[in-house]
């Protein structure tokens, strides 16, 4: 094994958390100057493994070799000393600090007792020039766009002379263009001798940029491959452990009566900007209406108005012909509107609550969960949770663990379980698969189609073209608070959608 020119080798690492075996005897090797993708579903143990390597978690068993020498890593400072740098999925930047302050934190340059910010600034500019990563050392981090913040994170690792770079789902927060830029940077870095571990669950990206791939599933390494030997379907199968449908399978819709109607809706946001400008559309039972649009074109506010979270300046929303009141979510819950919110942490779950409680968040006051007098029926709550965990395949140690301990995909399944199991007329799913892996996406898409086939009117809001195209029966495209056009999904191409989403008039696109 040691003949190879390895930058990093991980041998037989095992890491247990209470109730979970996060890494089970995992081995992994990184050659010098390669981009090695670590692929796996959410919760497969990729991030855990990297946090172990970076010294944030202590492994229960296992060894690390750097440049073929056995090393001990007892904390991030050890990892940094061995030349390992990590860009975490959630950036480890102090938002109110300047770029320079963020860079030097922990490895400060000083002159006497004072920080020497001038010297640090010069060093940063030098590195940023050397690697072609442009950045303003005096900018305050919170003012920077996400893509630039990520650049700062990469520079932070390079500033510490990292030659092994771990990127934990770096594209999750980026726009497609920013992601492309990142790939260019990654290739440049490898040319300069940096070895990169690229954690992801996006198959296209792997084929795009990786030299080799290691696939993890449920804490174990299940295989190695390379983009030359495989394709998206092959990678998906390896990752999930069975054949996965990357396309949604569905029969033609059988639309019935109109269940949801939005009429001349206008919404003004907190800054007094009209973000939804006179929108009208209708949704029939048994069809899926996709609302496409680049984020920030009024979709969020539209959904909030339809789900009782926001007032409208004018216009009406009808549910089966009856006007619904704004800012009254309970009315909607009781009248059969299901909502999968855009931000599952903020609006979907109470993270410190356990799964059982999260699964009755909007029905806890009803029978059977509300028992006699003021006491609630714990048994009923528990039974509900166990049922939903089973039916919606939530992978969790039990119904009594906090929602915060679950991976994103499983958290989303908790929400889907809660919403889809109620008697519904209308389902509004906002970015239902954001940040999820293919296995979970496939599952949630299948459930959404199932809801449609049961005669529910479904609205899916998404910024992902693929999701909109494969799920929807009809597509409404939003741009700057208005609906550009509503088209049949069949026969619409990605290119057409893209143009509409960028503001082209319907007539201009043929």
């Amino acid at each position: 094994m040691t003949e190879e020119n390895l930058a990093l080798e991980i041998r037989n690492v095992t890491k247990r958390f209470p109730g979970v075996l996060a890494n089970d005897n995992v081995s992994f090797s990184l050659r010098k100057g390669e981009i090695h993708a670590l692929l796996g579903e959410n919760g497969a143990g990729k991030s855990t493994l990297m946090n172990v390597v970076y010294g944030l978690y202590a492994q229960d068993e296992g060894e690390f070799f750097i440049d073929n020498k056995l090393v001990e890593i007892n904390g991030p400072s050890d990892a940094i000393n061995y030349g390992i740098g990590m860009v975490h999925q959630h950036f480890m930047l102090v938002p109110v600090f300047s770029v320079t302050e963020n860079m030097i934190l922990g490895s400060e340059v000083t002159k006497g007792t004072s920080l020497d910010l001038n010297r640090a600034r010069k060093e940063i500019l030098k590195i940023s020039e050397a690697y072609g990563l442009e950045v303003d050392p005096d900018a305050i981090v919170e003012d920077l766009p996400v893509g630039v913040q990520q650049r700062v994170e990469i520079l932070k690792a390079l500033y510490r002379k990292a030659n092994i770079l771990v990127l934990d789902e770096p594209t999750a927060v980026l726009t497609p263009q920013e992601a492309e830029d990142l790939f260019v940077v990654m290739r440049q870095l490898t040319e300069q001798g940096v070895s990169i571990i690229f954690i992801t669950h996006k198959l296209k990206e792997i084929l795009n940029v990786a030299d080799r791939v290691t696939v993890m599933r449920r804490g174990k390494v299940v295989g190695h491959t390379s983009p030359k030997e495989t394709d998206q379907q092959g990678l998906a199968t390896m990752m999930v452990g069975r054949d996965v449908l990357l396309e949604v399978e569905k029969s033609p819709a059988k639309p019935e009566d109109v269940v949801l109607e939005v009429e001349h809706l206008k919404i003004t946001d907190e800054r007094d900007v009209e973000v939804v400008k006179d929108i009208s559309f209708e949704v029939r039972a048994g069809e899926i209406l996709g609302i496409a649009g680049i984020q920030g074109n009024g979709q969020t506010e539209l959904v909030e108005a339809m789900t009782g979270l926001r007032d409208a300046t004018s216009g009406k929303v009808y549910l089966s012909g009856e006007t619904i009141p704004f800012e009254n979510p309970r009315y909607l819950v009781e009248h059969g509107v299901g909502h999968v919110p855009e931000d599952r942490h903020k609006h979907g779950l109470v993270l410190p609550y356990d799964l059982a409680d999260n699964m009755v968040l909007n029905t806890y006051y009803q029978k059977p969960y509300a028992g006699q007098m003021l006491v609630r029926d714990e048994q009923a709550v528990l039974k509900n949770a166990l049922g939903l965990i089973e039916r919606f395949d939530v992978r969790a140690p039990g119904p009594d663990v906090a929602a915060s301990t679950l991976s994103g995909g499983n958290q989303q399944k908790v929400i889907v379980g809660r919403e889809f199991s109620r008697p519904l007329k209308v389902l509004i799913a906002n970015q239902p698969t954001r940040g999820l892996d293919v296995g979970s996406i496939e599952y949630i898409h299948k459930e959404i189609v199932k809801m449609r086939d049961e005669g529910i009117g479904v609205v899916v809001i998404s910024a992902e073209l693929d999701e909109i195209l494969s799920l929807s029966d009809r597509i409404a495209i939003m741009f700057r608070g208005e609906i550009v056009t509503i088209v049949e999904a069949k026969g619409t191409t990605r290119e057409q959608l893209g143009l509409w989403m960028a503001g082209a008039t319907p007539e201009a696109v043929v």
């Binding site: 958390f17 970076y54 944030l56 978690y57 904390g75 991030p76 400072s77 940094i80 990590m86 975490h88 950036f91 480890m92 930047l93 102090v94 938002p95 109110v96 600090f97 302050e101 963020n102 030097i104 934190l105 922990g106 490895s107 400060e108 000083t110 007792t113 004072s114 920080l115 003012d143 766009p145 996400v146 726009t175 497609p176 680049i294 984020q295 920030g296 074109n297 910024a463």
Partner: protein, 341 residues
């Protein structure tokens, strides 16, 4: 896929400076103006008011320094009152026993530091609710000092002013600033020192990082627990010094609950000063000035109930806090215990 939010155009440096310091400068000019005018009218009273301003503000600045050291590293300290009180009591007792003021001051500082250690242990190691931790300290200090205090203890004296040569003879400010007892001078130095440490040194950078985003600091090898412990203990020591000021410099004796809410006013002063030592100093001076004026007004023959005049400093603080200072940015991780895994 995000729309580019257009940020407001950045302010020019001079605009930024005005935005940040405008209110402070305005208040400072107003206060200085009033003072000079008064000095022309009545020099003696003015000098007394200024001296009283400094006296009143000293324990508040020290308390605020304690509070901001703690909160900059994300530990909320509402136990300043208790730390001060215990410092005052221990300082007083040691003075009674030894008759040595220096040893007494050191003892007070140690007592405060010990209370800081207790708070750090409760909030950093045990991850207790920090409001409860602080309350524990307040109650503990009140109980301990009340129980062990015996009426009738006397000391040889208190710390006396040391005039700084010709500086003390400068009109208006001389007597107020350059003819003070040692702890007051120490306070001037501490304000500058804490400001320097917090904003110009490695330790300060780490402290602020730990207060804003402890995990980021942790991933760069900064020991979050150590940073919090040290800051909270040093903060406690400074609160202990504030206590020493009360018994060893201002009054010369101890009485039950003599801190009389100064620890809480210090918290307000800290917020008012936007978690900066210099800001807190300005706020404390303003509060002290209002307090000194209030005392003078009570002597003067004005037909207003003295209760209303007594309210003046507090009303002034509230008006300025809510009306002029604007939003204070609290350290993002303030009050949240750090969990490693």
């Amino acid at each position: 896929m995000q729309t580019t939010n257009t940020l407001p155009a950045p302010l020019s440096p001079s605009q930024q400076f005005l935005k940040q310091w405008g209110v402070t400068i305005f208040i400072a000019i107003a206060v200085i103006g009033i003072t000079i005018w008064q000095y022309i009218l009545n020099a003696q009273v003015t000098e007394a008011v200024l001296a009283s301003t400094i006296r009143q503000s000293t324990p508040l600045v020290l308390g605020a320094l304690c509070g901001l050291l703690c909160e900059r590293s994300a530990v909320i300290n509402i136990g300043i009152e208790g730390q001060m009180l215990l410092g005052a009591f221990v300082g007083f007792l040691v003075n009674v026993w030894t008759g040595n003021l220096l040893i007494a001051v050191i003892a007070a500082i140690l007592a405060g530091a010990l209370m800081g250690l207790l708070l750090a242990y409760m909030s950093v190691t045990l991850k207790m609710d920090q409001i409860i931790g602080g309350t524990v300290i307040n109650i503990l200090a009140l109980g301990l000092t009340g129980y062990f205090y015996q009426v009738g203890l006397t000391t040889d004296g208190k710390m006396l002013p040391i005039p700084l040569g010709p500086l003390a003879d400068i009109p208006i400010i001389g007597p107020a600033f350059f003819n003070n007892p040692p702890i007051t001078y120490a306070t001037f130095i501490l304000v500058i020192a804490v400001h320097y440490v917090l904003f110009y040194t490695k330790w300060g950078l780490r402290t602020r990082a730990v207060g804003e985003h402890p995990r980021a600091a942790d991933t760069l090898g900064v020991n979050v627990f150590k940073v919090r412990y040290v800051n909270v203990i040093v903060g406690g020591a400074i609160a202990g010094l504030a206590g020493a000021f009360l018994t060893l410099e201002a009054v010369g004796s101890f009485e039950r609950a003599m801190t009389n809410g100064r620890g809480f006013v210090a918290l307000a002063v800290m917020l008012f000063g936007k978690y900066t030592p210099l800001g807190a100093w300005g706020a404390a001076l303003l509060f002290g000035f209002a307090n000194a004026m209030q005392t003078q007004l009570q002597f003067a023959d004005i037909k207003i109930a003295h209760q209303f005049i007594g309210m003046l400093p507090y009303v002034l603080t509230i008006v300025i806090l809510s009306g002029f200072v604007g939003r204070t940015r609290v350290p993002a991780a303030d009050g949240v215990p750090y969990e490693k895994e």
